[in-house]
Each structure stands twice: as structure tokens, then as C-alpha cells.
């Protein structure tokens, strides 16, 4: 039993573990203390001081997020002094804030707005006479940075440093010039930013947002000459509901498909289809690498690492450019989809690919950058015209005036609308690995992976780095060199954990054969394009929805999806074949850190 401390909060006796903050202690007795710079994903900063409380015997107010409880503390959270200070602090924050809330993307989902309204602050009281003319940095394909809305809480800085180990943004200058800036104040597209968008989901205001493209998509939808296709990523269907009145973790797949059709997309397809295709390609690429290494003793880069997460891809390009050969050459499902929509799909439905506008609904900010990578033009056109976030889709549905909750469910269109449960779990950390193992194990042994109900539990969950080993026994004759081999895999999510994995590879001590990396904590369900807020509690609920979605699917393995079989028969011919290489695989760029 850990040491406990007895205190009183607003007269209520509380006993908590030593070292607990006053804020957390208050939560245990349902005393709500307002916060702004605090985020449970991040280290404590104590910047904004909104959470101040009175502690008997102390001259100054105490920031409850930063102060650990001490035996016998008498804490008061709502005295006149506290309320006065809080109101003034919020007024001060408002005094420097661009309060054009009516036109702000984060309006009604802004923590400062909520606080200002809750405390009914007088925005004129400490009106700043000098509002610096701050420019919006729109240089990046993914992230927009508007300093006029920044409250300097440094959540983004802590996110970029602690969760992601990227350090693209940091605090610069001091005093009146203090601001959140990039290296040498360069534009966001010129720095080491990997576009993961975690800063966006951790920003309490509209200072950091994803760059929006939905206005252009509305235009395309309205253009009768265009054939507008949208494909929706696995984790969008388990998070979109949060923006439209559903509790966290609600699956809204059928309603989402219906809404998108009503909005006017000519075809609503499923990114899960190319997730299954990724498994086919990546699984065989893995087997090919292992065959070369174990059977022929050739020098190939192992462990092989997944390449579905564009934030992760840019991270390794910047941070470990000498190890790019470890990345699978498979494009992400979004990009596979893009190149197939303007080739295979166009041919199938008889539409001129130049008239197709290919849109991807993604939980991700980095997908926007990925869509605009110059090499992503395998179809002869820009493969993906726009990547929209879950939030943008939510806004589009709101703008359309649809009664989302009462929409009947609908199925995805065809072609490229069919998929397996293995594809939908791509949305959760460990999902790509699980999907790959379901297929690879069966290809090698001819049997289903030996886990109850196909649930490979060791790769699931929110632990930063997960490990698993699968022993291959009684393999098919073609894979006799794998008999008795224990395939070691690892899963990392959040780039902080990816760095640990990469440092092992760099040091030559990595014990793994196959590694899955997702840039965002929790995987895509916690992506930078998902509804705000995202916390571990929310991640868990979205993950549970993902696995429920998997279990409800009639097909659970990528290689058994009829449309997948069909595309290989009619178009691609074989995994890693000529056409696959042309359309589904890519190469990477060595990038510098500065």
C-alpha cells in the first residue's frame, strides 16, 4: 500500500496517494477545477494559472495542477480570492486573443471560449491596446498556425517534444516577444514538422488547425463535370459520431456512408479495401525479405517496418535517413486507393480519370501532405486530390443540414467498397500487425493464426511498445526454411516510442523481424485529424469500437475478401507483381533535420 496523504478540499476530507496533484485529488471527490494548459497526455506545465486554488497558510495562490498534496492541507477551490484571480487570468488571456470567434474553426470546441463564457469575463476590462499583426502560417499542406489565437500554453510544444520527439515547434524569445515558433522562425513546411497534427488535437484554441480543403470539395461536388469519389479510413467511422451528437466510441459506419452519398459524392468507397490490399502486398514483401535472408542468405533490411502512417514516414526520413531501407515500399492505403481510383476503378466504371476528384476521409493531418508528395502520381494524375480530416467531414455533414442521427444505414459502393475485419483494425495501434499476421501465418502454414476468434491479443492495447512472438510450425513445403522460426514483432505508437525502436535498429540490437509504427498515440483512432479532445480514455473507447467492428465483419482476413481476389485476377495479377510495383509501391526521400 502506497503512502497516502489526508487533506480537505472545500471541507470534504480526501485521502489520496502521496504525490497526487491537488487537481487530481479534487477530481476524486468531484470537485471540478478549471484548467487550460493542463492535458493528461502531457507533463505538467503550470503556465496558465487558471487552476489556482487557496491553500490555508500559504500567502500566494497555488496552481493545483502543479502542486502535490501535503498532509493536512486545507484547500479551497472557490473562494472570492480564487474566483477573482481566475476571472482576471481568463480576462488577461482573452485580452491577447484574437476573439473573432464567430469565424473560428474551433468555435464551440475551444477551451478558452468555454472558460470565458463560464466565468463571464469582461473582454474589455484589460483590453490590449497593442494587438500585434500576426500572420497565419499557411505554408504547410497539413497544419495552419495562427499566432493571433495562441494562448502560449505550450501544450503543442510539449506534445511535439514529449509525445512525438520531433521538436518542430518550441518557445522563442522572452517577455513581450515570447511566442511559439519554429527553428529560425521558418515556415512550417520548411522545418522538421512531420504533419502528424498532434499539436492540433492538443491545442486548446484555434491557433493550430489542420489546413482545410473542404471548400474545394464542395465546389467539385457542385461541378456536374466531375466524378467525386470519397474513401473513408477505418478509424473515421468510430470517431465521427463524437462530432454529431453521439457518445465516444459509437460506430456510425452506415450513417456516415449515407450522409456522404446525400452530400453528393458520386461514389462512397472504403479505404479498408486498400488496407486489405496493403496486407497482401506488405505481407508478401515481408515473406520475400525473410526468404531472401533466411533461405538465400542475402543481405536485406530487417526488421521490416510498416509504412502506412505518413507522419511516421516523414519522421524516419528526417531522423533516420540512413535506415529508409527498413521501411516497407508499400504505399499507404490512402495512396494505393488514389492510384487505383484513377486507373482500375476509372476503367471499371468507364469514367475519364481526368474527371475524377479523389477524396480521402482520414483521421490524419499528415495525409494531406502525403497526398501532395510529388512522387504520388502513379495514375498519371495526382492520385489523391484531397485528404480531409474526420473533423472536416463532421463539419461538411453539419453544413449539409442532414439529420445525421436519423439517417438509415447504407453500404459502401462498389468497386473498392469491400473489405475484411483485418482492414478495419488498421485504425488501432497493433492492428496492421494483427492483420498481417492473420494473412502471413496462413500463407506460410495453411492454417488460421492460433488465437481464439482471430484476436491476437498481445499486439493490442495502449502500451507504448508491444512485443509478440509467433512460432511457425508444420509450415507448408514452400516455406520449409521457416520451420520452427519464431517470428518476433513489435508495435510502437507515438513517435517517442518509434524513436526507441529506431535507436535499437541503429545500434544493431533490434531483435525483431517485423515492426508496426504509427505516428499517433493509440494509432489512427488517436490521429491528428480526429475529433478534439483525445485522451487515453477516449482512445480506449474508440479502440473498443474498432475491434467490435472487426468482429461484426463477415470476412476477417484480407486474403479472403472477394474484391481483393478479383482485383488480383483481373488487374494486378499477383502481389509484388509488375503492376503492383507501378501503382502500389513507392520510394522515400532522405531529408535533413534543418
Amino acid at each position: 500500500m502506497a503512502d497516502t496523504v489526508k487533506i480537505h478540499i472545500d471541507g470534504i476530507p480526501v485521502e489520496v496517494i502521496k504525490g497526487t496533484s491537488i487537481l487530481d485529488a479534487a477530481k476524486t471527490v468531484n470537485v471540478k477545477i478549471p484548467t487550460l494548459c493542463h492535458h493528461e497526455d502531457l507533463c505538467v506545465a503550470g503556465n496558465c494559472r487558471v487552476c489556482v486554488v487557496e491553500v490555508e497558510g500559504r500567502k500566494n495562490l497555488v496552481a493545483s495542477c502543479a502542486a502535490p498534496v501535503e498532509e493536512g492541507m486545507m484547500i479551497k477551490t472557490t473562494t472570492a480570492k480564487v474566483r477573482r484571480a481566475r476571472t482576471d487570468l481568463i480576462s488577461l488571456l482573452v485580452s491577447e486573443h484574437n476573439t473573432q470567434c464567430t469565424t473560428c474553426y474551433r468555435s464551440t470546441n475551444c477551451e478558452l471560449q468555454a472558460l470565458a463564457s463560464e466565468y463571464n469575463v469582461d473582454s474589455e476590462r484589460y483590453l490590449s491596446v497593442l494587438k500585434p499583426n500576426l500572420q497565419i502560417d499557411k505554408s504547410s499542406y497539413s497544419i495552419e498556425k495562427d499566432d493571433s489565437k495562441c494562448v502560449r500554453c505550450q501544450r503543442c510544444v510539449r506534445t511535439c517534444a514529449e509525445l512525438q520527439h520531433v521538436n518542430a515547434i518550441d518557445v522563442a524569445h522572452k517577455g513581450r516577444d515570447m511566442k511559439i515558433s519554429t527553428f529560425m522562425d521558418l515556415p512550417m513546411n520548411d522545418v522538421v514538422c512531420v504533419n502528424c497534427g498532434q499539436c492540433v488535437t492538443h491545442c486548446p484554441t484555434g491557433a493550430l488547425t489542420e489546413r482545410r480543403y473542404y471548400h474545394e470539395i464542395w465546389e467539385a461536388i457542385g461541378d456536374p463535370d466531375k466524378h467525386v469519389v470519397i474513401n473513408t479510413a477505418p478509424s473515421v467511422r468510430v470517431a465521427l459520431g463524437e462530432m454529431l451528437g453521439y457518445p465516444v466510441g459509437t460506430r456510425v459506419t452506415g450513417k456516415m456512408v449515407n450522409a456522404l452519398k446525400k452530400i453528393g459524392f458520386d461514389s462512397v468507397l472504403d479505404t479498408d479495401f486498400t488496407a486489405d490490399l496493403t496486407i497482401m502486398e506488405e505481407g508478401h514483401e515481408f515473406l520475400q525479405r525473410v526468404t531472401k535472408a533466411l533461405k538465400y542468405g542475402e543481405k536485406v533490411a530487417l526488421p521490416m517496418i510498416t509504412s502506412c502512417s505518413p507522419g511516421w514516414v516523414k519522421f524516419i526520413e528526417h531522423m533516420y535517413p540512413e535506415h529508409l531501407d527498413h521501411l516497407s515500399t508499400c504505399k499507404s492505403p490512402q495512396q494505393m486507393f488514389g492510384s487505383l481510383v484513377k486507373t482500375f476503378y476509372a476503367e471499371k466504371i468507364g469514367v475519364d480519370p481526368s474527371k475524377i476528384v479523389s477524396v480521402a476521409a482520414m483521421p490524419c493531418a499528415a495525409k494531406k501532405f502525403e497526398a501532395n508528395r510529388p512522387e504520388m502520381k502513379s495514375s498519371g494524375y495526382q492520385d489523391v486530390d484531397a485528404g480531409l480530416t474526420t473533423r472536416e467531414i463532421g463539419h461538411m455533414i453539419k453544413q449539409s443540414g442532414l439529420d445525421f442521427v436519423n439517417l438509415p444505414d447504407m453500404d459502401y459502393d462498389s468497386y473498392m467498397g469491400e473489405s475484411s475485419g483485418a482492414a478495419v483494425i488498421f485504425g488501432a495501434t497493433g492492428g496492421v500487425m494483427e492483420a498481417a499476421l492473420r494473412t502471413v501465418y496462413e500463407v506460410v502454414t495453411g492454417r488460421e493464426v492460433p488465437f481464439k476468434n482471430l484476436a491476437i491479443t498481445p499486439v493490442r492495447g495502449l502500451e507504448g511498445i508491444k512485443e509478440a512472438a509467433v512460432k511457425l510450425e508444420n509450415v507448408l513445403p514452400a516455406f520449409d526454411f521457416l520451420e520452427g522460426v519464431e517470428v518476433k514483432v513489435a508495435i510502437a505508437h507515438g513517435l517517442r516510442n518509434a524513436r526507441t525502436i529506431m535507436d535499437q535498429i541503429k545500434a544493431g540490437t533490434s531483435p525483431y523481424h517485423f515492426i508496426e509504427v504509427m505516428a499517433c498515440p493509440g494509432g489512427c483512432i488517436g490521429g491528428g485529424g480526429q475529433p478534439i479532445p483525445t485522451t487515453d480514455e477516449i482512445r480506449k473507447k474508440r479502440i473498443a469500437a474498432i475491434y467490435a467492428e472487426d468482429e461484426g465483419m463477415p470476412v476477417r482476413k484480407s486474403h479472403e475478401v472477394p474484391e481483393i481476389k478479383m482485383i488480383y485476377e483481373q488487374f494486378l495479377h499477383e502481389p509484388l507483381g509488375h503492376k503492383s510495383h507501378e501503382l502500389l509501391h513507392t520510394h522515400y526521400i532522405k531529408r535533413k533535420r534543418y
Partner: protein, 488 residues
């Protein structure tokens, strides 16, 4: 006549010895204290002496030095550090620089003693890069001490090892705050973090660290040599020894002084400082730098020590002391300090970063004659919030110059707001240059010298100053030989 009021302990060797010759320091009992500590005393005994001496931190906080040593000693760790805070940054203050320039060995010796007390073999001096001479002398002194075996391995053959490195600060005022200082030394942004944990438990690189400022260290060898009793006989009940002040402002003798605790402000200003310049009237004395406050006539007989200054609404600070006369506008003085704070706030916490900006703007409004009584009430309110809610000492004390002038010179604020008058005639927006018709002979000197052509009038006719054009530069006033221009 003024000499006897001063006792030099921290400054004992400054100007007396050649700071670049270790022999001269040794000749004046230098490194004697370190030898005594290492060869004749246990660390506990040394700490006990320092505790008994009553020495308190001279950087401003006034924390008992011996107690700090003891806490750091009791922190269990494989590695500990001694840090000397030489990031002196109060405007007009240069006590620590003078010690480092004039007597660097006293600090080196004391740091080694501290290392012995707390169980550290490494010391760091965090010094402003703008102090090149102090840095050079410190480097020479370190080299000489190493050559003589007074730093390095196995000092005095006792098995105790200690050495010192320098770390340069870029001149951010907030880096004088110990947690910010430590972050800066670690190569991080110089931002304070909340305490606990205190540096004595988790400081530089997460290890127990004893941070003291230059002047505090400079006292320690003397305490060991002459005894805690000798030291504690000087000063007041709760503040022992002496304090160095940088005397500046409208006073006849400016410069560094070192006086026993308990000396009154009157003695400092009128006896040591030689009174107010040009026979003007004393108005206020600002102590404690940007964190301190302004004291008035009624405080002149207050004995200077940590507690009395705080009770009077100011603080000891690191020793800045600026004297003001009747020509100083107290609102402008408060504004000056706020301007400094706004620039030097690290920007981390909201009340300090934004609140001080708004305070500055309110003060500016007052000096422009555009403020209302509501602004005065907002000013007071905001000061309280900044004081109560800021993260570190900088923010918690940044409103002191405003609060103390509001307390002591409320009438002056009201004068600006209600009567639109600056009694000291310092606030340009509130003053007016006008021609005294009877005295004007129409010589045109004023009009010819006005840089903005604000004065009109024919030769040998009375001239007129157009207030909407006038920039209040005073050129006409200076040029007029007939006393025909007055300031209203």
C-alpha cells in the same frame, strides 16, 4: 567621516588586492578557511558554524544559507552540485560583478567549502556573458587555484576533490531565478518551473544542487576564519552581517557600499551617500530592483534588514538602491520598472507575461493623462492577481513597484488621473510650454529653434506656442534668454 558606517566583509579584498595574483589573496588569509574546514572540521561542523552565523541568502530571498547546505547535504545522491548564481541583472546593480572582478578567489574558496559541506565535487558558476572582465578574472583565478592544488583532486591531501566550471548566461533577468538558471545551464530554455522539488533535492541534471549567489559565498570564508559569533554580532536580530548595496540615483556619492544590517536608510542616504544632489528634496528610495518597492520619508529611519524592508512594502533584493528626488514622477518610476519586467518576463505563465503588459499599458495611460479612476482600481486589482498567481518570484514581485507607489504616492496617481497634472513635471503628455506674454520681446529665438515649427509670431511681437504641434522637447525653454517660456 562616512567610512566608519561601512564594514567590508564581502568586499574585503576588492580594490585592495590584485585579483589576478592568488598570492595576494592568500596573504590576506585566503584559502585559510578551506584548509580549516577540510583538515579540522567535519562537514556538519562547518554547516553548524554557517547556521550559527545567521547568514542568509544575499540574492534577494534571504533563505538561511546554513539550512540550505544542510538540506542539500541530506539529499541522498551519487552526484551533487554547487552552483554560484552570478546572473546579476537588476538595473543599476553591480555588487556581484565587483566581487568577481575584485576578489574571485573568495567565491572559489567558498564554493569548495560548500562542496565539502554538501558532498559535491563539482561546482558551476552561472555568469552573465556581459561580464567579460569578471569572466576573465574568474578564469585566471580558477587556473591559479588548480595550479596550487586548491582545486582539483585530493585538496590539501584530504581526499576531498572539487573543481569548478563556468556557464555563461545570455543576460535574461529571469535566469537569476534558480530553477530557470538550472534549466539554462542544462541547455534548456531559461524558464522557471514550480517548486517543489527544490534544487536542493532535484536541481542540475536532476541532482541535488546548492544554489547561492556571489555575495553569499563571499561571506563564507570570513565566517569560518573569524567565527560565527563574530559574524552574528554584526547586524540585527534576524539579519546578520553586512549587505552590499549599489547606491545610485539623485545622490551625491554613488557607487557600492557595504553596511551592517540594521543601518538606517537615512544613514545610507545622508551620511554615506552625502545627501540629495543639488540640494533637492528627497522623495523616495527604491530598493530591491524591479522586484522591490519605493520607500519614502517615513521609512528613512527604518533599520535595513530583510524583514523590515518587506514589512515596509519593499524588499532587500540583491542590493539595488536608487534614490529619487522631487523631480521624479513616481508613476513614471513604476512604469520604468514595469517596462523592464515586461521585457524580462520569460513569458511562461500568463499572469506575468500578459498581466505585466496590461499593467504597463495602464501606467502608460495614466502618464498620458488619459486614465480614469476605474483604471486605478483595475491597476490595483491586477497587481494583486499577478502577485498571487504568478509561477515564480519574478512574477510574484513584479507588481511591487506599482503597489508600493500606489500605497505611498496615491496622490500622485490621482493628480495624473483627476487633475491631469504631473507634480514632478516629468510626464510630457501632461505638461505644456507656454509663452509668458509680459516677458516675451519677440526675439524669434524660440521659433527658429523649434524643430516642429510649433511657434508663431512676428519679430518684436509676442510669440505663441501651438499646443497641437508642440512635441514638448524643451528647445524653446532652453533658448529663451528672457524667461518668457514656462512649463505648466
Amino acid at each position: 567621516m562616512t567610512k566608519h558606517k561601512q564594514i567590508r566583509i564581502a568586499l574585503r579584498n576588492c580594490g585592495v588586492i590584485d585579483p589576478q595574483a592568488i598570492g595576494e589573496y592568500i596573504a590576506r588569509d585566503g584559502y585559510q578557511a578551506l584548509a580549516t574546514c577540510l583538515t579540522k572540521m567535519t562537514p556538519e561542523e562547518v554547516i553548524d558554524q554557517i547556521k550559527k552565523s545567521g547568514l542568509r541568502g544575499r540574492g534577494g530571498g534571504g533563505f538561511p544559507t546554513g539550512l540550505k547546505f544542510e538540506i542539500t547535504r541530506k539529499s541522498v545522491s551519487d552526484q551533487k552540485y554547487v552552483v554560484c548564481n552570478a546572473d546579476e541583472g537588476d538595473p543599476g546593480a553591480f555588487m556581484d560583478r565587483s566581487i568577481l572582478e575584485g576578489d574571485p578567489h573568495s567565491v572559489i574558496e567558498a564554493m569548495a567549502i560548500c562542496g565539502y559541506c554538501i558532498g559535491a565535487d563539482k561546482g558551476l558558476v552561472y555568469i552573465r556573458a556581459e561580464y567579460p572582465l569578471a569572466i576573465e578574472r574568474l578564469k585566471i583565478a580558477l587556473e591559479q587555484a588548480r595550479e596550487m592544488g586548491l582545486l582539483g583532486k585530493n585538496i590539501f591531501n584530504t581526499g576531498f576533490s572539487f573543481d569548478i566550471e563556468l556557464r555563461y548566461g545570455a543576460g535574461a533577468f529571469v535566469c537569476g531565478e534558480e530553477t530557470a538558471l538550472i534549466h539554462s545551464m542544462e541547455g534548456l530554455r531559461g524558464e522557471p518551473t514550480f517548486k517543489p522539488p527544490f534544487p536542493s533535492v532535484s536541481g542540475y541534471l536532476g541532482k541535488p544542487t546548492n544554489v547561492n549567489n556571489v555575495e553569499t559565498f563571499a561571506n563564507i570564508p570570513v565566517i569560518i576564519n573569524k567565527g560565527a559569533g563574530w559574524f552574528s554580532a554584526i547586524g540585527t536580530e534576524k539579519s546578520k552581517g553586512t549587505k552590499v548595496f549599489a547606491l545610485a540615483g539623485k545622490i551625491n556619492n554613488v557607487g557600492l557600499i557595504e553596511v551592517p544590517m540594521g543601518t538606517t536608510l537615512r544613514e545610507v542616504i545622508y551620511e554615506i551617500g552625502g545627501g540629495i544632489r543639488n540640494g533637492k528634496k528627497f522623495k523616495a528610495v527604491q530598493t530591491g530592483g524591479p522586484s522591490g518597492g519605493c520607500l519614502t520619508e517615513k521609512h528613512l529611519d527604518t533599520p535595513i534588514d530583510y524583514d523590515n524592508l518587506i514589512a515596509a512594502g519593499s524588499m532587500m533584493g540583491s542590493g539595488g538602491m536608487i534614490v529619487m528626488d522631487e523631480d521624479n514622477c513616481m508613476v513614471a518610476v513604476a512604469k520604468f520598472y514595469l517596462d523592464f519586467t515586461v521585457d524580462e518576463s520569460c513569458g511562461k505563465c500568463a499572469p506575468c507575461r500578459i498581466g505585466n503588459k496590461r499593467l504597463y499599458e495602464l501606467l502608460d495611460k495614466i502618464t498620458q493623462g488619459k486614465a480614469t479612476m476605474e483604471d486605478i482600481s483595475n491597476l490595483k486589482n491586477l497587481c494583486t492577481v499577478i502577485r498571487d498567481a504568478s509561477l515564480c518570484g519574478l512574477g510574484q514581485t513584479s507588481s511591487n513597484p506599482v503597489l508600493s507607489t500606489l500605497d505611498n504616492f496615491y496622490d500622485e496617481y490621482i493628480g495624473h488621473v483627476v487633475d491631469h497634472k504631473c507634480a514632478a513635471g516629468q510626464c510630457k503628455a501632461l505638461m505644456k510650454y507656454v509663452v509668458i506674454d509680459e516677458n516675451c520681446v519677440g526675439c524669434t529665438a524660440c521659433a527658429r529653434n523649434c524643430p516642429v515649427n510649433a511657434i508663431s509670431g512676428e519679430k518684436k511681437q509676442v510669440h505663441f506656442i501651438h499646443q497641437d504641434i508642440c512635441i514638448k522637447c524643451g528647445a524653446c525653454y532652453d533658448r529663451c534668454k528672457f524667461n518668457a517660456i514656462e512649463i505648466q
